[in-house]
């Protein structure tokens, strides 16, 4: 069972503002999709999980400084720029 409150809670975690009229549609869809995912309940617990398909681990490279992207290229896709920096929203009220 997924409630409208669940949908609001998930949307808040995912930082996506929802319109009132979207909530019920998402609720119904989530319920149906999660019910389908329930097929995994019968998967045995004693199987090791696979996080990635190859045996690669701890891939290192030489720690050598190289040319970074020029500042103007880094900033060219940002809407809010000030003094050569990105300008972000306030992280605290007041």
């Amino acid at each position: 069972m997924i409630t409208k409150e669940d949908v609001y809670h998930i949307a808040n975690l995912a930082k996506i503002e929802l319109k009132e009229e979207e909530v019920e549609k998402f609720r119904r869809e989530f319920e149906k999709i999660l019910e389908y995912f329930g097929v995994l309940d019968e998967v045995p617990e004693d199987v090791e999980p696979t996080y990635q398909v190859h045996d690669l681990c701890n891939v290192f490279r030489e720690d050598v400084p190289s040319e970074p992207l020029p500042r103007e290229l880094v900033l060219m896709n940002a809407k809010h720029v000030e003094d050569g920096y990105f300008k972000g929203p306030k992280i605290m009220e007041g």
Binding site: V7, I10, A11, N12, L13, A14, K15, I16, E17, L18, K19, F26, E29, F30, K32, I33, L34, Y36, F37, V39, L40, D41, V43, P44, E45, V47, E48, P49, T50, Y51, Q52, V53, H54, L56, V59, R61, L69, L73, V74, M76, N77, A78, K79, H80, F86, K87, G88, P89, K90, I91, M92, E93
Partner: protein, 465 residues
């Protein structure tokens, strides 16, 4: 469909400039909506350079279309989303560097499902891609534009990306060849991420040989992708008897199965040893795939904050309000659905029930492939369980997800798989999926070449869109 051999033959008597202009005329007059952004000026300039004899390389003078989730320096890259509708990348993806090094002419960026999340290209912010064989039907997805531009004579080669079937599905629906390489063979540097542990960039082309050549160009070492295997690829077709496994759990409706069984009976069985293989884990594969893909997406797409790049509001606000509003306005419905379900699957109390279970299934699926491919050289099945859908036919998300049932197990295991056209039913193409062992693209392509020889005449007859 235009092969490299046909393009080169025309280049002997005509200028590259004229041929490329002709391609752009066809694209601009056509109704496929295969491209989001054209690279016309630069492509024509390169064609002129080629005509002056100043371009060389394996793909000199050959047009290539690039899926719009692959970054191209200075050329708009949208990922099919409003979120990136005006994004100009400051760098090239590794595969794009390789294309340029080999003299390829990048003609444009192809349309796709938003952030590659879809099976029909209907989730694109830039409108649906139409099937070259029936404009009322979809071209498949998510690399729909890459499939359609090849099927509709608008390019010679194309790059796609495949997270759960996104190269193989449009290849099947548009009657072209598409390969998802072994995980790690092709660098993902510059591929806008959706689900990192599953996705690969891969080649799409009008024949097996061209697909192999494009793979030779894009595969290889790149230290900027830490999952890159550092291997090169060279196609050396081998003539031998293949042992072929028909996967029992990968099926389709009567239209598709009729054609598939006909080809198995008339072409595969008389030429090769054929056995049926069972893959018991596949009943869990679709659910496991979607849980993993959505979970990775929820984390990956957190980068779209409306600050550094992408869709932004005119006025900054407090962080939570600004961030939530940017994402509400910038993402489409399917992307929101997947981010939210992924967030849910990873949230406290549900991790063990969904995500961890899905990773266990991944082990089972990988084991099933390893077992079957110990005995068989290749595994075959229909690529898609149905013919290309009518636009709007798959309105319900879960119904759409289920159409990926034959393609997603391959991504969970990381093995390579190719889709090749095997004929037509009701005037629409049907594709066969050929799956092989890790890094044995050569075996898959060699087998595909044999199948292509047998079905070529039927494909060529119908290959006029």
């Amino acid at each position: 469909m235009i092969t490299i051999a046909e393009w080169r033959e025309r280049l002997e008597t005509e200028s590259c400039y004229d041929l490329v202009s002709e391609l752009f005329d066809r694209i601009e007059r056509g109704k496929l909506n295969a491209f989001i952004t054209l690279n016309k000026e630069e492509a024509l300039r390169l064609a002129e350079e080629y005509d002056k004899g100043r371009v060389d390389g394996k793909l000199a003078g050959i047009p290539v279309a690039v899926k719009d989730c692959i970054t191209t320096k200075g050329l708009r890259t949208t990922c099919g989303s409003k979120m990136l509708h005006d994004y100009i990348p400051p760098f090239d993806a590794h595969v794009v560097e390789r294309l340029k090094r080999e003299g390829a002419i990048i003609i444009g960026k192809t349309n796709m499902d938003e952030f590659a999340m879809g099976t029909t290209t209907e989730t694109s912010y830039f409108g649906v891609v139409r099937n070259p064989y029936d404009l009322d039907r979809v071209a498949g997805g998510s690399s729909g534009g890459s499939g359609a531009c090849l099927g509709g004579d608008e390019s010679v080669l194309a790059l796609g990306s495949d997270t759960g079937g996104s190269i193989r599905c449009p290849a099947s629906f548009c009657g072209v060849v598409g390969l998802k390489p072994t995980y790690g063979l092709v660098s993902r540097y510059g591929l806008i991420p959706y689900a990192n542990s599953l996705e690969q960039i891969g080649p799409m082309a009008c024949c097996v040989e061209d697909c192999a050549l494009l793979l030779e160009v894009i595969a290889g070492k790149d230290p900027r992708d830490s999952t890159n295997a550092g291997r090169e690829f060279r196609f050396e077709p081998k003539e031998r008897r293949f042992k072929v496994g028909v996967v029992k759990e990968m099926g389709g409706n009567d239209d598709v199965m009729g054609k598939f069984e006909e080809v198995v009976g008339e072409i595969v069985k008389p030429n090769f040893e054929v056995v049926e293989v069972e893959m018991p884990s596949f009943k869990y594969a679709l659910a496991a795939y979607y849980i993993i893909a959505m979970s990775e997406a929820s984390s990956n797409l957190a980068r779209y904050d409306g600050v550094r790049y992408g869709y932004a509001l005119d006025k900054l606000d407090t962080w939570t309000r600004y961030f939530s509003k940017v994402r509400a306005e910038g993402f489409g419905e399917e992307v929101k659905r997947r981010i939210m379900l992924g967030t849910y699957a990873l949230s406290a109390g549900y991790y063990g029930k969904y995500y961890l279970k899905a990773l266990r299934v991944r082990t089972l699926v990988k084991r099933d492939f390893e077992r079957a491919l110990k005995d068989c050289d290749v595994l075959i099945a229909p690529t898609m369980p149905a013919l290309p859908f009518r636009i709007g036919e798959l309105a319900d998300p879960l119904t759409m997800y289920k159409m990926d049932v034959n393609t997603v197990p391959v991504n969970l295991a990381g093995v390579p798989a190719l889709s090749i056209p095997i004929g037509f039913v009701k005037g629409l193409p049907v594709g066969m999926q050929i799956i092989g062992r890790f890094f044995e693209e050569n075996t898959i392509l060699s087998f595909a070449l044999r199948i292509e020889e047998e079905v070529k005449d039927e494909i060529r007859r119908k290959g006029v869109a």
